[in-house]
C-alpha cells in the first residue's frame, strides 16, 4: 500500500492503515491501479484525501467512470465535497 504515501503524509498513512482489516488491505493491494486513478481524480477536485480515505475509502475501488457519473449528475456537489467528504453520502456513494 506504499503507493498511498503519494497522497498522504506519513502520519496520515500510518493512522489510516491502522484502522484497516486484512480484507481492506487486500482490496487496496489488488485494486492498486484503480485506486490510483480515482485518487488522482479526487486530488484534481481538491478534495481532502485523508478524510476521503478515512470516511469513504470503499469508494476508491469503484470504477472511475461510475464515480464521475454520480458526481456529474449532481452538479452542485463538488463544493460540498470539498467542504466535507461525507457529503458523498448525499449522492449515494
Amino acid at each position: 500500500m506504499e503507493y498511498l504515501k503519494n497522497f498522504l503524509t506519513l502520519e496520515e498513512y500510518e493512522q489510516f492503515v491502522s484502522q484497516l482489516t486484512d480484507e481492506d488491505v487486500s482490496l487496496f493491494l489488488t485494486h492498486e491501479e484503480n485506486v490510483l486513478l480515482v485518487l488522482k481524480y479526487f486530488k484534481s477536485l481538491e478534495l481532502n484525501l485523508f478524510d476521503l480515505l478515512l470516511y469513504k475509502y470503499p469508494i476508491v475501488f469503484d470504477r472511475l467512470d461510475s464515480i464521475k457519473e454520480k458526481i456529474e449528475n449532481h452538479p452542485n456537489i463538488i463544493p460540498l465535497l470539498k467542504e466535507d467528504v461525507s457529503n458523498f453520502d448525499l449522492i449515494g456513494l
Binding site: D22, L27, L29, Y55, S66, F88
Partner: protein, 624 residues
Amino acid sequence: MNKLEEVLRYHIEYLYKKLNAFRLIEDETKLKEMKKETRVFTELLDDLEKNIENISYLDIDSVLSKLYSSQKLDKVLEELRLVKIVLEAKNQKHFPIDLSEEQNIFLQDLLFRIHDQERQHLEQIPFISQEIEKKKEEKEAIEDKIINLSIILEKILDPDNLEFLTQEEFVDFYDCILNKEIPYEKRKEALISWKNYNDKRSLLDKKVIERIDMASIRECFREYGLLDSVEKYLQKYEKEILYHGDISNIRGILSYLQEEDLVHHKPNLLSSFTPLNLLTMCIYGTVSSVKERYEQLSENKDLLDIYFSTPSVWIRNISGRRKHTSGIKRETHPDKSSFTLMTMAHLISFEEMFQNEKLLQELGFSVSLKEGKGIAAIKMPTYRLHENIDILTKYDILNLDNTENFPVSTLSFSDLVTKCDWAIEVGWLNPLEKQFGNYIQNYPSKLQVKIDFFAVLYKLKNEMPADEYYRTVFSENGKLNKAFYQNGYLQVSQGKSFADFLGNTFVDFAHCSYLPNYSSFEQIIVQNFQLDYDLSIFNDSLIKKLETYHHVNDHDFQYVFGNVAVSRFKVLRIYSILKKQENIDLEEALLFAITYNSLLSEQSLQVILGQLGMKKGEVTYGIS
C-alpha cells in the same frame, strides 16, 4: 453438469427463495409499532383514569383510527371536538355548563375502547415476539444450510480436491434428496454420484509437489518477461512462496495465460493482471482453476475488468467458510511481511461475489459488477454483508424501502455495531434530539470518525448540558463544526497523546474493582458474538427495572442514567449473551453490559452506579 452438482445447485436456489420469503423486518416493524401504540394507550389511560376531563388537553386524534371504524371516524372527531369545547368553557372560562349525559357516555365508551385496545395489544405482543424468534431461528438454520451445501458444491467442483465427502456433509446433502420439487430420478442419480465421488477419491494418487528455491522461481518469471515487475513481491513474500509454491504449477499458469488461442479468441492475458495479482494466482491457483474460469467467463461473454483485479476469482475458493475470523482489525502492519498472499487468494469466491451482487440489487442498492459500482460491498463475506445490513436497519440508519440512494460504502465498514453504539452514546443517533440527533442517519459515513474524536465527544457530552454540547459540536446548519472537528481533540486533550488522554479521562474497566470478571466476560462476548438480543431477556428482573426506570419512552435506542446515555441495544445484546452462561453474577454482568465499549469518566460511572444502587468501593450489589 453431473446430477450431484445439479441437485445441489437446485436446492441452494430453493433455499434462497425460502430465505427471501422471510419478512422479518416487516414483522419487527409491526411489533415495534404495537409496542409504541401500547405505550400511548397506557399513558392515555393514566391521564384519563385520574380525571376523564383531562381529555380536553390530550392529543388523541392520532389513535382514534385504531379505536373506531373509518365510517364512524368523522362523527367521533366531531363529538370529541364538541366535548373539548364544553370542557374549555367549563374549566377555563368558568361558564355554568357541563357535559351532557350523551357526552359522558361517549367518553366512557372511549375509555373502554382504549382499555380494550391496550389489552389486545398486550395479549398479542408476546405471541408476535415468539413468532419473530421462531422465524429468526428458522432463517438462521436455512442460512447455515446454504453455507454448508455451497461448501460441498465447491468441493466437488475442484478436481484438485482430495478430500472425501464426510458423513456430516451427507446429513446436509440429504436435505436435497428429500426435496420433492426435484424430480425423483435426479435425486436418485445424485445419491449414486455421491457414492461414486468418494470411490474415485480413494483411487486418486496423492499429488506430488515439487518444492522450489527462489532462483528457480525468478527464472520462471524471467522466462515470461515478468521478473522486473514481480521482484519486489518475490522478496516481500519469499517465505510464503517457498512454502506454498509449485514450480510446474506456476509455469503451467503463466504458460496458459500467455498462450494466444485464435480459435477460442483467447489473447495473451499476462498483462491483464497486475504483477501482485498474477503472483497470488500462481501460488494459490492451479492451471485448471485458471483455465476453467477463463473459459466460463469467455463463453458467457462476461470478461469484466473486476475479475482481473480479483485473484481469488481464479482460485477455487470455498464460499462461506469465513466466519468471525474476518473483519477483525489488523494486529500487524500491512507493509510488513506478516501480511500474506493467502488473504488475497481467499478474499472472496466467484460465486459469493455473484450472490452478493444479487442480494444487494434485490434490496435495491445501486451496485454492479459490470459497471464497477459498490465493489467493496460486493466483495465482502456474505455473512458480514447480511450482518451490516441488519445492524444498519436495526439502528434505523438504513430503511430497506429506500435503498437506492443509500451510500453503499457504509455497508463495508467493519465493527459497525460498536460504532453505532458509540453514535447513540454521543448523541449522534438520538431521535429525541430534533435538530442534530439524526446526524448519523444523514451522514452514515461519520460512523468512521476516528476513535480519538469519539473520545472527545464522550467527554464533552457527559460534562456539558445537551444544548451547549450540540452547539459546540455542530454549526447551525446541522453540519459538523469544522473548527471543532479540526482542533477539538487538541484543545480537549491539551496536546496529550491519545493513550494519556484516555488514561486520564476515562475509567479503565478492564482493571476496575466493580468488574473483577471483566476479562472473562469479554472473552465470552467475543466467542459468542450475536447481533441481536433474546426477547426473553425482558422477563429478567434486572432488565425489567432498567426498562421501567431508565428506558426513555418512544426511544428504543437508549437507557439513560442521569445525564449519561447508554446504548440500549448494546446492553440487551451483551446481557443476553452473558445470561446464557453458567455461574455468572448477573448484577456484575449487567454492569459489564452497560459499560462495555463505552468511554465513561469516573463521575459518569458513579452516576450509573448510584442509579443502579451499587455501592462505591465495595463488591456489593443491589438494584434499586
